[in-house]
Symmetry: D2
Subunit: 143 residues, 4 copies
């Protein structure tokens, strides 16, 4: 599993600054690893908002939502309470029904965690979470 170590992504088109709060930490004194997935999602959500899309409106209007189908997380160095993290978002692949993202958490340019996230577009209320086409307006905004 430990392949070549990733390096800080300096060409990322979008970055969200966040602060580490008590809620993000655990008794080890560091950010609890599962919480990186929450932090990375905040960044994707804000990235989507900069493109003009709100997920609640996608739910209510287009009746679609994005669900994470695959996530790979690598924790490289610990983050602590009060740290300021920069969370980057880069689209690594855009398909008709799914998107893949490469994301990083950096502190002052030092890479602390990296993730690859694959999200699929599904119909709201479809219990099987069957793949659905990503709204064309979103795909157009990506290019």
């Amino acid at each position: 599993m430990p392949a070549a170590a990733p390096t800080a992504d300096t060409s990322a088109p979008f970055s969200l600054p966040v602060r580490v709060y008590w809620e993000d930490t655990d008794a080890g004194g560091i950010v609890y690893y599962a919480n990186y997935l929450k932090l990375f999602e905040r960044a994707r959500t804000e990235w989507l908002r900069t493109l003009g899309f709100s997920q609640q409106r996608l739910l209510d209007g287009e009746r679609v939502m994005f669900v994470v189908t695959d996530a790979t997380l690598r924790c490289i160095a610990p983050a602590r309470l009060d740290d300021r993290l920069d969370l980057t978002v880069r689209v690594s692949r855009a398909g008709g029904a799914s998107l893949e993202f490469a994301q990083q958490a950096q502190r002052d340019g030092t890479l602390l965690a990296a993730a690859e996230i694959r999200v699929g577009c599904v119909q709201r209320g479809d219990d099987t979470l069957r793949a659905s086409r990503i709204p064309a307006a979103i795909l157009r905004a990506l290019v």
Copy 2:
């Protein structure tokens, strides 16, 4: 990323039953994916306890703790409020300073999510989280 679909692991030596509560779900009406990492960790903790080890005692006594360094999560089918999940734990590799686990979340034998988790052993209070040898008693208990 979507390789061969995993199948339900029926030979797993340890399984923890858990229930899905409101806290585990999100506005999509299903278990929030990041929370699977929490659920899977509960199972590893209880598995470790069946071997006779408490992580708080490891922290206080041996001054070591396990930290997750790599996690890969695949969400296959949604879990909902009140579902009963069985969380399996299988050690896929045991090194001197790290362990790798293959875990699954099943509902009535149907595979809903799978994860591979790599944990490293580190000294408590070591800000660099440098690898430390896993206590011999634990390694002995694994064989």
Copy 3:
């Protein structure tokens, strides 16, 4: 606010044992206070289940759900990783559209946290969360 200190409730009709995991703790080395609300809810959910009710079925069938409208939490002594907590549930008031609970978290009979929780019954999908009558079968089961 610091009124008379509550004492461990020894007559509680329902108690759920839970274990403290990493996810429940924070960098202070203790259970993060907000997480007590999650733990207490697990106990209410299991108490409701012993009465024969599943909240997912209430959502799908009766189209109602319970939402917490008021919560008061008192943290008395810290809980730590690997602690085993007993979470008690006592109905302190049952109205036509709301229920009030007194709950405690104990460790070996020592009171660590106490809460009073008021939940209201609301129609699913009603954006205003207007009060709705509690299904009669539930009220009957309470007496």
Copy 4:
């Protein structure tokens, strides 16, 4: 418990804007009530930062930390995914070893949730969480 309904606090000296993400919601489609305690804490932390104090530095330097001893939460109207909330912080009482806060979550001036939070100052590593004097510099900054 349902006393006079609180009204939106328009004179609050500090307000933090936050966005509602998937992680904050539950299967009811609204912000999960326990998560308001997390959101309110983010606001207190940022308020403390505007006074010049970092909690990690308090932990490392003064060896003290603030722990929540009492929390009262009232949920008035639901917040949803993508809502922008303004979280206010008002110190309602400053003692030698504890602080009390009145906080609100508003959306476009509408009050959605309110909380009263009491935090105590304790020595780091003191398992009994015995009250400790709040560092004088903080008390001075409050007046």
